[in-house]
């Protein structure tokens, strides 16, 4: 039993770097919204000592562009495709799910319920999942924010509403200041924090959710090595996604897969998945 390795949504464009996408077990699109979006004004990224901030703001072609251009091009590459879906209301999310429902070129729908860089929908995550569940039979994964009081409560609610799996975790909102001007380095002021600093947060969230619900969990947050991936699996992940590391090392998919096998073997596990949940007692 191997552990699939994916990209975190927004951390790879398969059409500009197909060789990277083809090294993954499936490709997750950048979050798609009902209408095209220009995204936020620059400056959009800022490195910090232990991570990076981004405030891209869901730049993308909208669902029409995805369906007309992106999905056919991804199919031509022979990729298995997960589509990340965003929006500003239940109606937004549900309408996109309805458009994707019958498509054979979409394997899974991941609901981005937690982008820290745009206005949030007024409804709860569970209400959005329920609205989408009614309009698609595709597997639905709910991507949750780590910035909640008790993420296991959110997990239970979205699973009860029909989510088939969880994606844990999204970036967490942060800010970086220019040391001279003491003004925010990002044009929008704040952004989503990712990279090595996110791993302990991801581990805690994955562990809490794995204890609360029995569904597949796509773990992500600060994975840069096979050992990082094994730790997320030990906390309860059954799939691992690579995010910020892809920016620094586009060869990471093959490397992390190789290291993951070696790290699991070194600890006496027949395969990486055999270590799933061992952190949770």
């Amino acid at each position: 039993m191997t552990v699939p390795i994916l990209n975190a949504s927004g951390c790879l464009d398969a059409l500009t770097a197909p060789e990277v996408a083809l090294a993954l077990d499936a490709f997750v699109t950048k979050t798609i919204t009902p209408l095209p979006r220009d995204g936020n004004q620059p400056v959009r990224i800022a490195e910090t000592d232990a991570g990076m901030l981004n405030s891209i703001g869901l730049q993308g072609p909208g669902i029409d562009g995805l369906v007309d251009r992106t999905l056919p091009a991804l199919s031509q590459l022979g990729l298995r495709v997960w589509v990340s879906v965003g929006g500003f209301s239940v109606v937004d999310y549900a309408a996109i799910c309805a458009r994707l429902d019958g498509r054979v070129d979409v394997e899974v729908i991941e609901l981005n319920l937690s982008c820290p860089n745009v206005e949030e929908a007024p409804e709860t995550a569970a209400q959005i999942v329920a609205g989408c569940r009614a309009l698609t039979t595709k597997p639905l994964y709910a991507k949750l924010s780590p910035a909640t009081w008790d993420i296991s409560e959110s997990a239970k609610a979205v699973v009860a509403a029909g989510a088939d799996g969880l994606s844990l975790v999204n970036t967490i909102r942060g800010m970086a200041l220019d040391p001279q001007t003491l003004r925010p380095r990002l044009g929008r002021g704040t952004g989503g924090y990712s990279g090595p600093a996110l791993k302990p947060i991801a581990l805690a969230c994955i562990s809490a959710c794995a204890r609360a619900v029995d569904v597949p969990i796509v773990g992500m947050g600060g994975v840069g090595s096979g050992l990082d991936a094994l730790e997320l699996i030990a906390a309860g992940a059954s799939v691992v996604s690579l995010g910020t590391i892809l920016f620094a090392d586009p060869a990471a998919p093959a490397r992390v897969r190789r290291e993951l096998l070696a790290e699991a073997t070194a600890r006496g596990y027949a395969n990486p998945l055999a270590a799933r949940g061992v952190a949770n007692g």
């Binding site: 951390c11 464009d13 500009t16 060789e19 995204g39 990224i45 730049q59 586009p250 060869a251």
Partner: protein
């Protein structure tokens, strides 16, 4: 685009800059004006650099140590190795009849490689100080102006085919005087290959990724 760990062959001081020479490995040097992402030891993200020189079996980059990442790269020594990805983006269009290279400060970086590809055309380089201007020694046929003189003040009336690299205000000024110039821009970027959407600039009224659309763009 390929990613490899490359050994550091040498690191020489050129004025305030570091000329970091790496063993080329299996990486292609690409076209002048294309760039590479260099690992900055101890930092989360790599940094973009256009290729400065492509000596036999080597890739060399001119680094201005102004921040955490560039300081880490300029401190590399023989025996170190860093992860390098490239070549990336679109470089200069070399089908020009009367090339003139126009650069400001660290914008001189792609010109040694570009100059060789074009057979040593004239170059006009502006620097803050004589110390910075030591980098002009890397470019044949270079005329140097120092602050407060601007390169745009020294541009001939009919500058020919301008290929420019430098700070944004300089590129904006060059664009006014030479509407057909090729301008090499820079922007903060996390990846360099279209993944992060961090490096967008406005091109033809739309925010586009500089790493894909550029970094060399037509002025008009």
């Amino acid at each position: 685009m390929r990613t490899e760990r490359l050994a550091v062959r040498g690191n020489e001081t050129v004025g305030p800059y570091a000329l970091v020479r790496l063993a080329r490995g299996g990486l292609d040097p690409g076209q002048p004006g294309q760039f590479f992402m260099l690992e900055a030891p101890g930092r989360v993200l790599p940094r973009p650099f256009s290729l400065c020189l492509a000596g036999t079996g080597e890739l060399a980059f001119l680094v201005d140590p102004v921040g955490h990442g560039t300081r880490a790269i300029s401190a590399l020594a023989r025996g170190d190795a860093i992860r390098v990805t490239g070549p990336l983006g679109h470089g200069f269009d070399l089908s020009v009849r009367r090339p003139l290279l126009v650069g400001g400060g660290i914008g001189v970086a792609p010109f040694p490689y570009l100059s060789r590809a074009l057979g040593g055309p004239p170059a006009l380089l502006g620097f803050r100080t004589a110390h910075h201007a030591e980098a002009a020694s890397l470019v044949p046929n270079a005329e140097v102006v120092l602050d407060p003189t601007l390169v745009t003040e020294a541009l001939p009336d009919d500058p020919g085919d301008v290929l420019a690299c430098g700070p944004e205000p300089m590129l904006d000024a060059v664009r006014q005087l030479a509407p057909h110039a090729q301008l090499a821009w820079e922007a903060p970027m996390a990846c360099g290959f279209g993944a992060c959407y961090g490096c967008v600039v406005e091109v033809e009224g739309r925010l586009q990724r500089l790493c894909i659309a550029g970094p060399v763009l037509r002025a008009a």
